[in-house]
């Protein structure tokens, strides 16, 4: 019976939905996390009698057809790249992006990854690195014993060196933009890499050409909204239950049919 298989696709889809929702909820307080959602589509239809077919030689056509669907499938789990709220931390190396763009980060193998997580640190050589110790591009080294580290909204990093009273510019942070941010590949650790779907990375200065500006002393919170997630969770759980009821119903009908013979 087709209904059994159709309901099974529904149960599998809802299981995946709950998985994605639980990952969103688990990352509710992850800096720079962007929530995912599952997109569903109906599966192919079996056109038992096709709409518009001729029913007589006089040109009468079927006004309605019989299209039996075969369930649901998942097309994708795109990330929603909306702005998260900014949390003031006061950390001089905490940087949040207000608007579009990603920090460019060099991975140990020399390739680049992109992240919205601006909770930076200094390594033993004074270079600005991420919490995992990956270099932030372009590499900026903070001289020892300098004070007054300032990151301007345009990304200029300056300090007051030891024994001086005037600030010196050390370097310039850049932001990378993608035409299709949802097409980036998540590699964990709050990082994404480029894919054919994301388009080529466009490096640029903060606050120019559509890129956002930077805010020192703040971190971008996750954009997960707990109420939305819980509502979706309830809906997914109920849908799962109803699909299981369809399986029970189909099973009952099959057992009725098989009990006819005795």
């Amino acid at each position: 019976m087709r209904a059994l298989l159709t309901a099974a696709t529904g149960m599998m889809a809802m299981e995946l939905n709950v998985q994605v929702i639980s990952n969103n909820l688990a990352n509710m307080t992850t800096t720079g996390y962007k929530r995912q959602r599952v997109e569903f589509q109906d599966l192919l239809y079996d056109h038992v009698s096709r709409i518009g077919t001729q029913t007589s030689t006089q040109g009468n056509i079927l006004p309605v057809g019989i299209d039996i669907g075969s369930g649901v499938k998942t097309v994708g789990t795109p990330r929603l790249m909306t702005q998260g709220t900014l949390l003031q931390t006061g950390g001089s190396l905490d940087v949040a992006i207000r608007g579009d763009g990603f920090f460019k980060i060099q991975l140990p193998d020399g390739t680049f990854a992109y992240s919205r997580d601006g909770s930076f640190q200094m390594d033993q050589q004074g270079r600005i690195v991420t919490a995992q110790g990956n270099l932030v591009q372009p590499s900026i080294t903070i001289p020892p014993n300098s004070t007054g580290l300032t990151i301007s909204p345009q990304g200029q990093v300056s300090v007051i060196p030891q024994g001086s009273t005037t600030p010196t510019v050390l370097g310039q942070l850049i932001l990378t933009r993608f035409i299709n941010q949802a097409g980036l590949l998540s590699i964990g650790d709050n990082m994404y890499t480029e894919t054919p779907a994301s388009g080529t990375p466009q490096d640029g200065l903060p606050a120019t050409d559509g890129a956002g500006d930077l805010q020192q002393g703040s971190l971008e919170q996750s954009n997960v909204d707990s109420v939305t997630e819980i509502t979706n969770l309830i809906a997914a759980q109920r849908a799962y239950e109803m699909n299981s009821k369809v399986i029970t119903a189909a099973d009952q009908m099959l057992s009725t049919a098989s009990n006819l013979m005795h």
């Binding site: 019976m1 087709r2 209904a3 159709t6 309901a7 529904g10 889809a13 809802m14 939905n17 997109e39 569903f40 589509q41 109906d42 599966l43 192919l44 239809y45 056109h47 038992v48 009698s49 709409i51 518009g52 056509i61 006004p63 309605v64 057809g65 019989i66 299209d67 039996i68 669907g69 075969s70 369930g71 649901v72 097309v75 795109p78 929603l80 909306t82 608007g99 933009r177 035409i179 299709n180 949802a182 097409g183 779907a197 994301s198 388009g199 120019t208 050409d209 559509g210 809906a235 997914a236 109803m242 699909n243 369809v246 119903a249 189909a250 009952q252 009908m253 009725t256 049919a257 006819l260």
Partner: protein, 252 residues
Amino acid sequence: MQNAVLVGLSREVALERELSVVANNIANMNTAGYKADGSLFEEYLSSRARGAETGSRVSFVQDRGIWHDMSGGSIEHTGNPLDAAISGQGFFVVQTPSGERYTRNGSFQLNADGILVTSDGYEVVGDGGPIRFQRNDRQIQISPDGTISVREGTSIQDSQRGKLRLVNFSDLQQLHKDGKSLFAAANGVQPQPVDTMTTVVQGSVEKSNVHAVVEMSRMIEITRSYAQVAAMLQQQADLGQASIDKLADVPA
């Protein structure tokens, strides 16, 4: 007497198909832009079979077609600037390899070239062809009439990127489902422009219009009728059995 069995059988086959339709509705309870289906049944008169005494004709049942419930689904706010829901009647137009298709699922994406596409990568049709964004576009705005405007780079002026094409049909039952949340029009059916009451809501997605309670009650109705018909078939079989037993019971 055989007719009773066959009439019962026609009902059982139709019910099984109806359950498939209900199962598909329930499986797509969370599919954006999904429209629920319902089965249409009709009486099918047999040309030969007649009742022995009254001469009335024996009628079977058959499922003649599926109708689509084209009422609007609830609109869920997502906050994603590329999500668009249609309030009122109408469809977005999507260009697929097999021609134009129509959808109410407005969870759009951009592709690597900056063109507005569906989740499957099919281009969304605007009034002047595909809708293409530039690399430095930001603050995408979709107005209620479907016009898409952006702020380019650091400009504070809006620039237009196109207008979503919205269409409607005089008879919505002339559309058939093509999977992937898409509808296809029957041969010769031309899309019409939408009326002014139809608006586009940005940052929202239209949910499926399946009513869980309705589908559940339909499902109960299907299983119960199935059992009733099965009981009737059983009685017919018992009747046959009894008559064979009686008639064959020749006194020794």
